[in-house]
Symmetry: C2
Subunit: 449 residues, 2 copies
Amino acid sequence: MERREFLKFGGIAAAGFSILPSGSLFAADQQKVRLGYIGVGARGMSHISEGVLRDDVEIIAICDTQEWALSMCRNYLKRKNRPAATEYTGSEDAYKKMLDRNDIDAVVISTPWQFHHQMAIDSMRAGKAVGCEVIAGLTVDEHWDIVRTSEKTGVHYTTLENVCYRRDVMAVLNMVRQGLFGELVHCEGGYQHDLREVLFNDGKEWYGHGVEYGPKAISEAQWRTQFNIDQDGDLYPTHGVGPCMQFLDINRGNRFTSMSSFSSKSPGLPAYIEHKSPGHPNAKIKYNNGDVTTTMINCANGETVLLSHDVHLPRPYSLGFRVQGTEGIWMDVADSIYIYEKSKKPHQWDPAKEWLDKYDHPLWKKHAKEAEGAGHGGMDWFVFNGFIEAIKRKKPFPIDVYDSVTMSVITPLSTKSLKEKNAPQDFPDFTKGKWTQRKNTFALDDSGL
Amino acid sequence: MERREFLKFGGIAAAGFSILPSGSLFAADQQKVRLGYIGVGARGMSHISEGVLRDDVEIIAICDTQEWALSMCRNYLKRKNRPAATEYTGSEDAYKKMLDRNDIDAVVISTPWQFHHQMAIDSMRAGKAVGCEVIAGLTVDEHWDIVRTSEKTGVHYTTLENVCYRRDVMAVLNMVRQGLFGELVHCEGGYQHDLREVLFNDGKEWYGHGVEYGPKAISEAQWRTQFNIDQDGDLYPTHGVGPCMQFLDINRGNRFTSMSSFSSKSPGLPAYIEHKSPGHPNAKIKYNNGDVTTTMINCANGETVLLSHDVHLPRPYSLGFRVQGTEGIWMDVADSIYIYEKSKKPHQWDPAKEWLDKYDHPLWKKHAKEAEGAGHGGMDWFVFNGFIEAIKRKKPFPIDVYDSVTMSVITPLSTKSLKEKNAPQDFPDFTKGKWTQRKNTFALDDSGL
């Protein structure tokens, strides 16, 4: 998915960036949300692009340690006729100065994963609502820390997990809530994405050339690849598990209770490097992250969830969703749906499209035009919209702090399970029992919350 | 799949049973294999039908406790101009009398699962080679017992697992062996089959009507359903895992080392019964077998295998195969293959058919015509052919005793893992270390072995 962002902001294609209608979504006298951005690299720029589309957003300040990112953002705002944002740079702590301002309502954090936790904690303590890219922290404790800080400060936190807003995912959620699948028993999802061109580059172009990572590389390969070297586990669980949580009312009448992970060996990246650059020393590195990591989760209400993490191998992109209940099943890899006694022929798949069109979610029906052309097939419009609307209406985020850490904590738990020879791990109840009473709030209607 | 057998042997359609060419496959002076059949119900009759197609097979004796099965078989042999087989019946031990004969080379066991182990042991002790339907025993110990008895008596044993011979599976095996997928890291398979009409009937017709099981039902529902009531676990692992074992050289340079299972709740069968017959007491039964059971397995060479068991829910049939390596991936649910830098477009699936046609296995190329119309899309012809050819050539079966019990022992191991809250289970090494030296022998060429 990063490729699309490259096409937007990277050298050659930036000029061709498509322009969305920027008409007033809200009356001019409504409150504006004043944002500070921590991190304006590839992913941060995507959120910047959502910000400039909205009349109810002011981009007050931006922060990055790398000049190429700041200048990319600076030029982009200028091109979009937006006021220049104050820039913070010079050290990894520079963002703290930005947090001292009292003219910022919320921050968008799009930095390398290892910085998310501390930046979010500092932001909440400074009274700024937080929209943080996926991965809330690196350890189980850091996830608890996010929850405690949000509870103590009363400041809201959300993960900017966009796949919950994918059009087919929301249509299926609509079908789930209307009982089309009957009682759900099993869901699957994952992150099955050939990241080989993301994890390595030549230090000049973002994707497609070279086998360097770390200081010799640019963009994500600068920092992300090190995780694949250091850590076995499901490093990126939220795209797969986020939608499954919505289908299963996790933290809202249901919860994850325990999980185990299995991981394969990892010849994928060495084979790629050896193929692209025979004899290169990066092919000799031991990549601890298994090429395919599989995680199974139990739910309090008896459902199971299966997650895949598969980013080192040549494969077409697929999040591998399945939703299965007593009345039917959706499998997105085959674009297929089967509903008992409603599908056209017994024991035969219907093309999913017929069902997905029929059950298109009201939120998508209302906003499809605004979302057209936004990042990741329009999902990014919706995740950003939910973020801004919740702040304006002073409501908890649609994906709140408990949901956010539940998605993200799967990474350290999977790593621990693998270290302990696939031993099951108890899943933390971040709600401390409140899950039994909490009600679903995500996308109940077309309001954007 | 049972439906097809019903169409062959059940009342209405028996007369329309298609006739295969029964020409000499082997010279008339070659040895004939003399068979005794223990169990000639639905599945047994399928093996009878394979037997009557071959000039090198004599059906000497048949054994069953139910007259309807014996008479179905008796009439079928007559219709096929085969000599009448001696019949053994009257008690569950009747098969032992058949084993006393010295004019039988091998037995085919197609009885309810709980009888397989003892019948196979008795048969081997009587010097009869064994072809046993899937499920070698109910406990881990019973699986060891099969191995020890085979080793002690020198009599060969095979599971009649047919999916290893599925045409697409064998084409993919051909591709695996030619290195198209690179180094394999992960495989998936399963038994995803809506068995609701198999597990319940009305005591008159085999499939499609009624919600009875046990004494009030006929055919499989008489005995199979009780397992779904009594036992959680992957009750039917061999169709999914058999092909994965071939892809990964299990017991032949590789082995399964440990596994865990997760299982969902099981509202599927009660929902079906309540739907078909509102208020029926069978909807109140607690079905201990989860609607979806997922098993993860580690291999000695670092690969992982994922198995699904999913038989209580409305869903199109799918064994859910995936084969994934450093160079490519096959997913049968989407009929798709992707091979790095060989597929037509980067990051996009090719239709599997193009690859499967190109790499059609030599054994299928040679025998497709004979297999046409045989059970389960032709697979049954090949599994029976391998069984008979090995006996004639006095060679171990292509799927030998070690392979057979490895496939089947997954059931009791998964049950134990579930009882122990998903704890990983060590996988027995039935070869006692010989797996490091044993060579692959399955389908190396078109010889049938």
